[in-house]
Symmetry: C2
Subunit: 410 residues, 2 copies
Amino acid sequence: MIANLKTTVLDEKFKALEAENAPGQEVRQDLSLLDNVMKGKKLDGIPVDFSHGNVDAFPPTPNSENYWLNGFKQGGAQAYTEYRGAFDIRKTLAKHLGDFTKKPVLADSELILTPGTQGALFLALGATVATGTKVAVVEPDYFANRKLVKFFGGEVVPVTLRYLESPSKSGLDLNELEMAFKNDTKVLVFSTPNNPTGLVYSKEVIDKIAVLANNYKVTVIVDQLYSRMLYSGETYTHLRSCKVQPENLITIMGPSKTESLSGYRLGAAFGTSSIIDRMERLQAIVSLRAAGYNQAVFKTWFNEPDGWLEDRINQHEAIRDELLKIFRDANLQTATPQAGSYLFPKLPALSVDLNMFVRLLRYQAHITVTPASEFAPHLNDSIRLNFSQDHDAAVEAAKRIVKMVEIYSL
Amino acid sequence: MIANLKTTVLDEKFKALEAENAPGQEVRQDLSLLDNVMKGKKLDGIPVDFSHGNVDAFPPTPNSENYWLNGFKQGGAQAYTEYRGAFDIRKTLAKHLGDFTKKPVLADSELILTPGTQGALFLALGATVATGTKVAVVEPDYFANRKLVKFFGGEVVPVTLRYLESPSKSGLDLNELEMAFKNDTKVLVFSTPNNPTGLVYSKEVIDKIAVLANNYKVTVIVDQLYSRMLYSGETYTHLRSCKVQPENLITIMGPSKTESLSGYRLGAAFGTSSIIDRMERLQAIVSLRAAGYNQAVFKTWFNEPDGWLEDRINQHEAIRDELLKIFRDANLQTATPQAGSYLFPKLPALSVDLNMFVRLLRYQAHITVTPASEFAPHLNDSIRLNFSQDHDAAVEAAKRIVKMVEIYSL
């Protein structure tokens, strides 16, 4: 108990930030009582932590540490950059991001470097959400979106993403979205490729979102963290290159996932300059800047060795296909990720609740996954796997998940 | 203009975060119109940026880059730590911080690693300040304290720090402090050594703050960033080792200043475990964690080569003494910093306002300083210098400041 603060307000606020089941925090859980719940024996196998990518199996972009060392050797100029990041790095990056998203980015006014894409999301929502601001949040979507809106005092307006229907019927519910916009929603935040399902928003849907946001004057924050890891046959549409544009649009990307540079905490946000200005002011009191020396590693981004990205995508596609087959053979309904490295299989009715099953997976089968409830509060029948893992270990672990489902099926 | 957000609320909020004159942001200012204001010619001399320490003149702790590289080589385990930081590093650091502050720190529950001390301050105030919370803020003090309180919706209750009187009369106004506490103030945030004056709070004052905070149930956040660089003859009192303790106390430190590790963005907060818990939940949505590989550099902290810290202190003391003499010989009243590397000389009446004088210093004399108004809103007669600079360049620059004061004196 923290006495003598505005206890109820702050307790409430921080309850909404509960992180016990968040990816990476599992180590803080007490699993000692699970012996009483566990059915049968522990399952043998190499432990696999599907809560995030395995950067030992898929190591960082080649030579990233040498780029870092060059940054370190630059000394003060690299240690103390503008809060929005070193200008020379922004200049190079703005060109790459403009080319990739098919619309130029102005290095001086339209780009900020952040501590990871998490940092970019925090700053973008902090710059656009005040007490009572209605924010459309897709369900399911990245777990922090909802928490951020609540932290800044905003009101979450959920919009449904269908992801288990046939490809032609999957996608964002645009009627719900327009209804939300009509009802005074001021901000939309969403990820494409979607986290946790790997669904890539179609050109039709992206175009429609842009038109609706323009009509209803809604600010859009689009998280494209995984947009470089696009599987064969898929196409990707960047909202910022649509013909009709929202008046305020921030696009977020970063090299933490496909490029395995998460240990550097690097992200980027680009778009409407007045929002970028606000984000920088907020950055100034949050952590000043993305770590100076680390910023130098941005120079590896969109600058990888020839063929490196293609190889990485192919290796992930092979894991994706094998895991999909294992889950589908066991009748676990699973959408096909079109990009990124998340799988989101649906489980049958079980004799234990989802959080307990997830803990049992860890205790009994040496597998860490993230429960669906992190991505949509009322979703309790699915688990998210980041399959950026050692191929063989991931396959064996997927088989153990199937076995665990059999053990605990009703 | 950002249309269609809660414009007035957010505009107001971000106006309070204005960072145009903040240290490090000077490069974004347009100085092209100063030719019309400038008296006389530009002054020759090596440019000196007193807005922050010069890590080329005082380089990072020896071998920090090798510690970093060892962290990088550890791969995934170091890239993805708990949000509060890697346990093995917290364990070592808790021991050092406990020894230094003369009270044990529990590694598991009482310590969080953050992206710089700025990150620690942000999390600590975010965890304790809600809309309407009254927060006692010392004036002058670190510029972000006030901004943070406002950002979280709190109300700033200013408390005066006297720093130009004789040593026996300098210090925090304890009557004002008690009055603030009586009037429902719930949080006190302050730095000792004080930024910008270098004043170290005496044992008597620290003891009294602890007793008052305990009596009135006020949460205390104390920023001890510069407490390792203590000059000869001075003593330092850690609030957390006082006999009477506030119920809620967070101490903040980091290796960015004395140790010149700012380019790594590393900080630490330690104290009341329920507040540390909240800080971690907030960290989870702000930027997940201090950059993983960088955390390994904490292993250099309180573990420097023999004599290294003493040498560094002696070198700074020599610069301090020479600059003090230059300013005092020119009748610029300046408090003697007891610790840290800030000098805060008071200027006479000038023919231009403070912000203009600061810009002229940059344009005409190649010197960057921070105006007093960043540290106390109504203070407009002083400038802050971080004198952690090349000794000779700093001395020449101090002489140019004196010359500029002569040029613009009324």
